[in-house]
Amino acid sequence: MKFRTCVSGLALMAGLSTGAAVASEWTLEKAAEPYAGTVVDVVFLLRPGYEAAEAMLPEFEAKTGIKVNIVKSPYENALGQQVRDFVANGDFDIALIDLVWIGNFVENEWVVPVSKFTSNPDLADPALDMDDFFPLVLDAFGGWDGEIYGLPFDNYSGLLFYNERMLKDAGFDGPPKTWTELKDVYGPALTKDGKYAFALQSKRNETQSADSFARVLWPFGGSFLDENFRSNLLSEQSQAGLKFRQDLMQYMPEGIVSYDHAETVNAFAQGDVAMITEWSAFYATLTDPETSSIVDDLKIAPEPMGPAGRKPALGGFSLAVASQADENEQAAAWLFIQWVTSKANAKEYLDRGGVPARQSVYELPGVAEEFAFVPALVESWQDGVPEFRPRFAEWPEITEIVQEWGTKIMLGEVSTEEGAKILGERMEAVLEEAGYYSGDKPLAQ
């Protein structure tokens, strides 16, 4: 027994030392050698996080000989562009997945689980450290049904950006802690002389669904669906949230239903609006003197809390290897994804305007002081809801319904009850057709 234990111990040590030797030997250059000259195609959005990655790209290409071909696209076109490409077995080797597209991409088998690559010692960087990703972000952005498909790349949480000077001038020492306080106390005090207390981007596209409609559901205890996947929009809590938004509109600029991110961030950046709840990704825009006149007055806090807690907006993108790519392209694509989301590159990505999902980078000395959004972001990622917007394959159809009726509610064309009723009926019709009520599909969102 003693002998066997001893042998086992030696074997374990040998194994560990071999593993350590492999780990120490693994380099990106060596891993990429067989794939030099491979071209991988990927869609990038026109946002700061993508510009940051693009600026870092020459280093990757020089080290690996792999060429990353970026196809730039505005957000609104990115899903359609990728769906058409994947349906036609086209060129994209990497899928850029918004968290609400993950169910769709996985169900259609357009993406490959990361385990295919993490289990391959030739391709898996021993320093990959999946546990270093914020668990909520990794799960929500890249995971579906217990499997990880994508690594978090462009990561957002909703934050409260506020103009400290405007708040001080109105007699406030800090930002509102709750949504009710924002409306009832800050709203009247800050809406005057052509300035507005708050702007909630609500344009009829994904902005209406994600940034406006969902944002007022969750903190008030509401949700899109109940546990049986029936509409929960007529519940007392959901209605409270939707009615709150209607009340809050009096403190927002006229025509807020036509405000997208650009208009909202711009109104705040020009000092016309005192507070906005926007994605962390806009930090770079708001701290750039060329695009913002309130750089010195900019402060950031977590989103206000509702009766059900903070439950801030959660959004972001993962990168996943496309199943339509051939083996070489898949390997090259994985090496790029692994590299651009790595712990080692997280600080540079952050410095260049991206928002990494690596916990370790936010623990580095000086980061919290240098990037004012960090404490609020880290706090938000502890308290987010993965299904802030349902992530199932039917979301593209449902978001269209939410966009239409959410806007009609805001415009007062229908009441919150009428709008929620029609929206719920249409949402349930989509889910019925998909097979959730007949038991053909599991109730996963």
């Binding site: 899903l79 359609g80 769906v83 058409r84 349906v87 769709n104 169900e107 259609n108 344009k203 009829r204 596209n205 600029p253 006229e254 025509g255 807020i256 239903v257 036509s258 405000y259 109104a267 016309d272 394959a393 593209p396 159809e397 269209e400 239409e404 806007t407 009609k408 415009l411 064309e413």
Partner: protein, 291 residues
């Protein structure tokens, strides 16, 4: 007497055009009809199944479809008469003798709106009609009118897309009608002017018969253009706010490429095609008479 042309030669000359039309026009149309008979969602290709005319019945009973159709025809009914009325006025002015250089300059400037890409017109509108920074609000501010929420208000947004369409396509109508006016024989016009000084009588009985072919062409082309108007509205309002500017083409695009339901979108497109063909036939039967 010319030699008889062989069938092969005729076919040789016709074939490229026929083949191109078949590949570009007829093929996709047949495929659209095929998809319209199926459950055909790009993100659920494993579930494709034959539905018969179910997509058509669901489209025809969908109030959202008819609301979008109503909006499109409202736009047509407002914009087209305005374009014809203003276009005819411009054509009549340009047809007057003695304008010289100004006629050339005006004709050139009339081409500019038409030469501007639809999408660019929409993007220009976004900037010009911006509530806070737009030049339109600045201009009306000079005459004491406060800023108007052009794009964020449902009624105003619809007015803006009508205005933009009239701005872009009135010159086209003017040029077509001007071409029609130039075909009126000079001696006929001179004789009419000796008979009456009433411009309306001359327009109605002398010039209008020569304008009918152009007017029918304008009616058909502008109706078809309005029914498929997409780019300008998409870039300007994206169909919003709410559904205020969601014309039928935007709705089809939304269903087909944002919800990815190609089956229903194809059924909508084919119903739209049928309506367009019926309207074109009505125009030809009611208005068109050989001069």
């Amino acid at each position: 007497m010319p030699a008889k042309t062989s069938r092969l030669t005729l076919f040789g000359f016709l074939a490229p055009a026929v083949i191109a039309l078949a590949v570009i026009g007829v093929g996709p149309l047949l495929y659209a009809f095929y998809t319209s008979l199926h459950f055909f969602n790009l993100t659920k290709l494993k579930k494709i199944r034959f539905l018969g005319f179910d997509n058509y019945s669901s489209v025809l009973t969908d109030p959202v479809f008819w609301e979008a159709m109503g909006r499109t025809f409202t736009m047509l009914i407002i914009a087209l008469p305005l374009q014809i009325f203003i276009g005819l006025g411009i054509a009549l002015i340009l047809n007057r003798p003695g304008l010289g250089f100004w006629r050339v300059l005006t004709r050139l400037s009339l081409v500019l709106p038409m030469a501007t890409t639809y999408a660019v017109v929409g993007l220009l509108g976004q900037v010009m009609f911006n509530l806070k920074f737009g030049v339109v609000n600045q201009l009306i501010g000079f005459i004491g009118i406060g800023p108007v929420n052009w794009i964020g208000d449902p009624t105003n947004a619809f007015t803006v897309i009508v205005f933009w369409d009239v701005w872009q396509w009135t010159p086209f109508v003017a040029l077509v009608l001007l071409a029609g006016l130039t075909t009126v024989p000079g001696e006929v016009e001179e004789a009419a002017e000796l008979e009456t000084k009433n411009w309306w009588t001359i327009l109605r009985y002398v010039q209008l018969p020569f304008l009918i072919p152009g007017l029918v062409a304008v009616l058909i082309l502008r109706t078809a253009d309005t029914l498929k108007l997409f780019d300008m509205v998409f870039t300007l309002t994206r169909g919003g706010p709410g559904s205020a500017t969601e014309l039928i083409s935007l709705m089809i695009q939304r269903v087909g490429f944002r919800a990815f339901d190609q089956g229903v979108a194809s059924a909508q497109a084919i119903i739209l095609l049928i309506i367009t063909i019926i309207l074109a036939q009505i125009y030809i039967k009611v208005f068109y008479k050989e001069v």
